[in-house]
């Protein structure tokens, strides 16, 4: 059972309030959460439920307004900018809905951007092979399809061998077939590299891939489901 494995994240009473234009948005209203090494977690919820905010706080892209967020026993919520930067550099890989590739760099260079500052990275070519893009190394983002771009983004995220892979709607901008391909890559990384993986989605079908599914609603965890059996990505239909 997952509870016997090492605890990677421990969140207690997380809240987040931020101003959006003229109004204050309460994105998180007190979240308690534990994540364990090597598990595959899906954060599920409608838009505005707070899942992106939670992911950003997990990844050190944002800080909570109150509450504690521990990573490996250290409290991220008190980290300053430089400490958060080091945390992201050494431990976290990100995959974004809109890929966020640097348009002026090729696939290989986009990956190299990250491996150059990592301690023990995969060579960019190997990372790109892992995501099935061995033949697209020197293509610029504009020369790649959406699915390919997202796979470059995944290669970029995993090339540093992060402890945690955080994916924000990785298939949100993709069609079903391409989405499945991308999910397969994430699944493979999780299984083969043992990377703790958190995937945000509002697509319930994807939840079947996960060890645990955390349902968020209105800034709170509504419930947590455990899947006895993880489904393979190619079995998923939506």
């Amino acid at each position: 059972m997952t509870d016997h494995r090492d605890r990677v994240f421990l969140a207690r009473g997380l809240t987040k309030i931020y101003p959006m234009g003229e109004i204050q948005v309460q994105a998180l209203r007190g979240v308690d959460l534990e994540l364990f090494a090597g598990e595959f977690v899906v954060l599920l919820g409608p838009s505005g439920s707070g899942k992106s905010t939670l992911l950003n706080i997990l990844g050190g892209l944002d800080s909570p307004s109150s509450g504690a967020m521990q990573y490996g026993g250290r409290d991220l919520s008190v980290y300053d900018d430089a400490e958060l930067t080091r945390y992201r550099r050494e431990h976290v890989g990100f995959v974004f809905q809109f890929y966020n590739l640097i348009p002026s760099l090729t696939a290989r260079e986009n990956v190299a951007l990250v491996t150059e500052i990592a301690r023990n990275p995969l060579p960019p070519e190997e990372a790109l092979t892992l995501v099935g893009l061995a033949d697209r190394l020197d293509h610029f983002p504009a020369q790649l399809s959406g699915g390919e771009q997202q796979r470059v983004a995944i290669a970029r995220a995993v090339a540093k061998r992060p402890e945690v892979l955080l994916c924000d709607e990785p298939t949100g901008a993709l069609d079903v077939q391409t989405g499945v391909l991308v999910l397969a890559v994430i699944d493979r990384v999780n299984r083969e590299l043992g990377t703790t993986t958190v995937v945000i989605t509002h697509n319930a079908a994807i939840a079947a891939m996960a060890d645990r599914v955390i349902h968020l609603s209105n800034g709170l965890i509504a419930r947590i489901d455990h899947n006895a059996q993880r489904q393979a990505p190619h079995e998923i239909v939506w």
């Binding site: 900018d81 945390y87 992201r88």
Partner: protein, 787 residues
């Protein structure tokens, strides 16, 4: 190469148009700075070395006649280390083939050795031989004006006696860097010459054997000058001393100093403005450029790049552009500076030119630009770093647009949808719009600075020579002469009107201030020489009291009613007191004016005159010139038309080059600003405009939305630019006030028109370039990327 550096080069290549425009702005600012700075350094350095190596004297004195034995007593005055007594004679010259009157100054040089002071720099030929009395050295400027080479002959009238002389050399002298007929403001090398003859020969010709009428001295310490001058005046007064003076009152040095002051002003003002504008624009452009990379900054930070690494990345991008700009600017500036300095070297006739770039000059340009670029980068990065990466990567929240003032006034029915979008966009980001307007306005303003002087100079000439000095010819006498001279002038061929004047060298004192100048007595009711008040209306001289050039009044700090002390510097050197009756408007030169009879009364002399103004019939000019040349009492003749030409020529020689350069760079800067504003607006809004295209707007319509806004801002900038330009011109005019001339602040409509045209054409060109990019807007790609 590191991936981040690759990103840098590729992005630099992508924005090459903008990068070049920014670099051009920097190049313009730096080149102007270096050009003027290096020229100024070179002129100062050159003059200092020239003065030192050719032993320019510290104290000067003229007198009527003293025996050579007096030299030992002069040398005994404490502080004096070198004395050179000389004979100096005013002469009339005749050069074959030139019919107009030429006057000159013949100065003696020692027969058997080099002069101890004011040494000659021989350009051609040799010094005069001790045993010859018909040899002469002429100033290079005079020789060139008449194409005289060693071996050529010329005739001089010394003391009424005509004598043929052979030119054996041409030379330069630190004493006559500026060669001007006394009373003139601008050089005329054809009609005024400086010549040197052996002491014995000139003494014999001028009746000065064993005597001297001029002495120059070198001091151990220039600060001792006032005491030396006092001693010297006491010593020389019995010999008809005309008042000793130091370098400050030496004509050539004084004019040179004034001119250096003018150049210094240009050399400070122009670069300050140009560099300032360039630096301001650099700052704005850089901060907006980086502002647009907000999401990439977020992404880099998400992957663990620290603030330092990200800052360094953008700094590199900016510094590359800046360093290239500064390097090219220094190169171009150094080259232009060499041209300008050579021009001045020619103008001043320096024997050599010490031109080199100094480290402070180069460092100044570099640091200013780096500072501005780094500040702009830091400003933009600070804003980007203030955001959490999560926020930086998120699209900016929809901006808070609201109805514009125009709409709230209920005028929206007059505005089409695109027009409303333009107005709302400007209103939403007033600060950014203001910066754009200010940038364009600065570009507009500086294009006026180079050009306004031309119209101003014409105005000065019109006022001085058409309203005030209206004579055709001015003759000056060797020494004050009785009224009877008029009779003889009246009867000369072609002379229609004669107005006499008396000119007295004086030192005017008021409180602790004093100024050496000329006091002029003019008959009341004159028509050829007229005085003008501040509004350029005719001013009638009061029977008593003195009227001063407005600028002289300022220098002395006097107001009408104040009592002025007049130290006369000739004859018995009386000291008198006189009331300031008023001030007159004069753009050229300075002087004090009195009613002729009043001045004669003040000096307690008979009706003496120093010269006369003539109105003449053009047909009789050649004959008149010939006859004037034969009158021994006439020391000089000035032709008004020639004076006007000299004025223009001098102004053109010194001003044209740099006004051209300044205008050229101003135009480049103006274009650079406008092009950059357009490109930045295009990048910032391409997504929005592509969305509009998807919604069915035509290319024309989206171009209108983007370019209409820029056009509107450019139009708003033009009047502001006029104001800025006028203010810069005012600063220039204010600083350019000098004894030589005062430039009035007159800006011709054509100057405004030129500035506006530069802005409009730049806007049009930038618009066309942007339009091309808009037409190629890839709608799908733009909508897919989420910037």
């Amino acid at each position: 190469m590191r991936a981040l550096d690759r990103k840098l080069w590729r992005e630099l290549w992508q924005m090459k148009g903008q990068a070049i425009a920014i670099a051009l702005v920097i190049i313009s600012g730096v080149a102007i700075h270096i050009m003027f700075g290096a020229t100024l350094d070179a002129l100062r350095q050159t003059r200092a070395r020239y003065y030192q190596e050719y032993r320019f004297a510290d104290v000067f004195a003229s007198l009527k006649r003293a025996p050579e034995s007096l030299q030992a007593r002069i040398a005994a005055i404490p502080g004096i280390v070198e004395v050179e007594t000389r004979v100096v004679a005013g002469v009339n010259l005749e050069v074959a083939g030139f019919t107009e009157p030429i006057t000159g100054r013949l100065i003696s040089i020692p027969d058997t050795r080099e002069p101890r002071l004011n040494r000659l720099y021989l350009r051609q030929g040799r010094l005069t031989a001790a045993d010859r009395n018909d040899e002469v050295i002429v100033s290079e400027a005079f020789a060139e004006a008449h194409r005289l080479e060693p071996g050529a002959k010329l005739r001089v009238v010394i003391n009424g006696r005509r004598q043929a002389l052979t030119i054996v050399g041409t030379a330069l002298s630190p004493e006559y860097i500026h060669q001007m007929r006394p009373g003139s403001i601008f050089p005329d090398y054809r009609r005024y010459g400086v010549l040197w003859m052996g002491r014995r020969a000139l003494g014999a010709a001028y009746g000065m054997e064993g005597a001297f009428n001029d002495v120059v001295m070198g001091l151990a310490n220039a600060h001792a000058a006032p005491k030396v001058i006092d001693e010297l005046d006491r010593l020389l007064t019995p010999y008809g001393g005309l008042g000793a003076h130091d370098r400050e009152d030496q004509s050539s040095h004084r004019f040179l100093t004034e001119e250096f002051r003018q150049i210094t002003l240009s050399a400070t003002l122009f670069p300050t403005i140009f560099l300032g504008v360039a630096v301001f624009l650099l700052n704005v452009v850089v901060s907006r450029l980086i502002g647009m990379q907000r999401d990439q900054i977020g992404t880099l930070k998400a992957f663990g790049y620290g603030n330092g690494a990200v800052a360094l990345h953008y700094l590199k991008l900016v510094l590359l552009i800046v360093l290239v700009g500064v390097a090219v600017g220094i190169g171009i500036g150094a080259w232009l500076g060499q041209l300008l300095a050579a021009l001045y070297m020619d103008f001043f006739r320096f024997p050599f030119l010490d031109y080199r770039l100094t480290l402070p000059l180069v460092l100044g340009a570099l640091l200013l630009n780096l500072g501005a670029a780094v500040a702009g980068t830091a400003f933009a990065l600070r804003a980007a770093f203030a955001l959490r990466p999560a926020e930086a990567m998120r699209p900016e929240p929809p901006a808070r647009y609201r109805a514009t003032v125009v709409e709230r006034l209920g005028l929206q029915k007059w505005l089409s949808q695109p027009n409303r979008m333009i107005l709302r966009h400007i209103e939403r980001r007033p600060f950014k719009s203001l910066l754009t307007v200010l940038g364009i306005a600065l570009g507009c303003g500086i294009t006026m600075v180079g050009r306004f002087q031309e119209a101003t100079i014409n105005h000065m000439v019109d006022v001085h020579y058409k309203l005030s000095q209206r004579e055709d010819l001015a003759v000056t006498f060797v020494e004050p002469t009785s009224w009877r001279a008029i009779g003889s002038l009246d009867s000369l061929p072609g002379v229609e009107r004669v107005e006499v004047y008396r000119a007295v060298p004086v030192r005017l004192r008021f409180e602790q201030r004093s100024h050496r100048t000329t006091l002029k007595g003019v008959p009341s009711g004159g028509d050829l020489q007229r005085l003008l008040d501040a509004d350029l209306r005719l001013l009638t001289l009061p029977a008593d009291g003195v009227v001063l050039t407005d600028y002289l009044g300022q220098l002395l700090g006097v107001r009408p009613g104040d009592r002025l002390i007049v130290e006369v510097l000739e004859g018995g050197r009386p000291v008198r007191e006189v009331t300031v009756a008023g001030l007159v408007k004069e753009y050229l030169g300075v002087a004090g004016y009195m009613d002729l009879a009043g001045l004669n009364r003040l000096l307690r002399e008979g009706p003496a005159i120093s010269g006369a103004y003539l109105a003449v019939d053009d047909r009789d000019r050649p004959e008149l010139y010939r006859r004037l040349g034969e009158i021994p009492r006439i020391a000089g003749t000035a032709i008004r038309e020639q004076e006007i030409r000299n004025f223009h020529q001098t102004m053109e020689q010194t001003m044209l080059f740099f006004t051209f350069i300044a205008t050229l760079f101003a135009v480049i800067i103006a274009f650079g600003v406008i092009y950059n504003s357009t490109r930045i607006a295009l990048t910032e809004r391409s997504r929005e405009l592509a969305s509009l295209r998807v919604l069915g707007f035509t290319r024309g319509e989206i171009s209108y939305i983007l370019l209409g806004e820029l056009g509107l801002l450019a139009l708003l900038a033009i009047p502001l630019g006029f104001g800025i330009g006028r203010a810069i011109c005012a600063v220039f005019v204010n600083g350019a006030q000098s004894e030589l001339y005062r430039i009035p602040l007159i800006i011709h409509p054509s100057t405004y028109a030129f500035a506006a045209t530069v802005v409009l054409i730049s806007a049009l060109l930038s618009g066309l370039l942007a339009r091309r990019k808009l037409d190629r807007l890839d709608l799908i790609a733009v909508l897919k990327t989420r910037d």
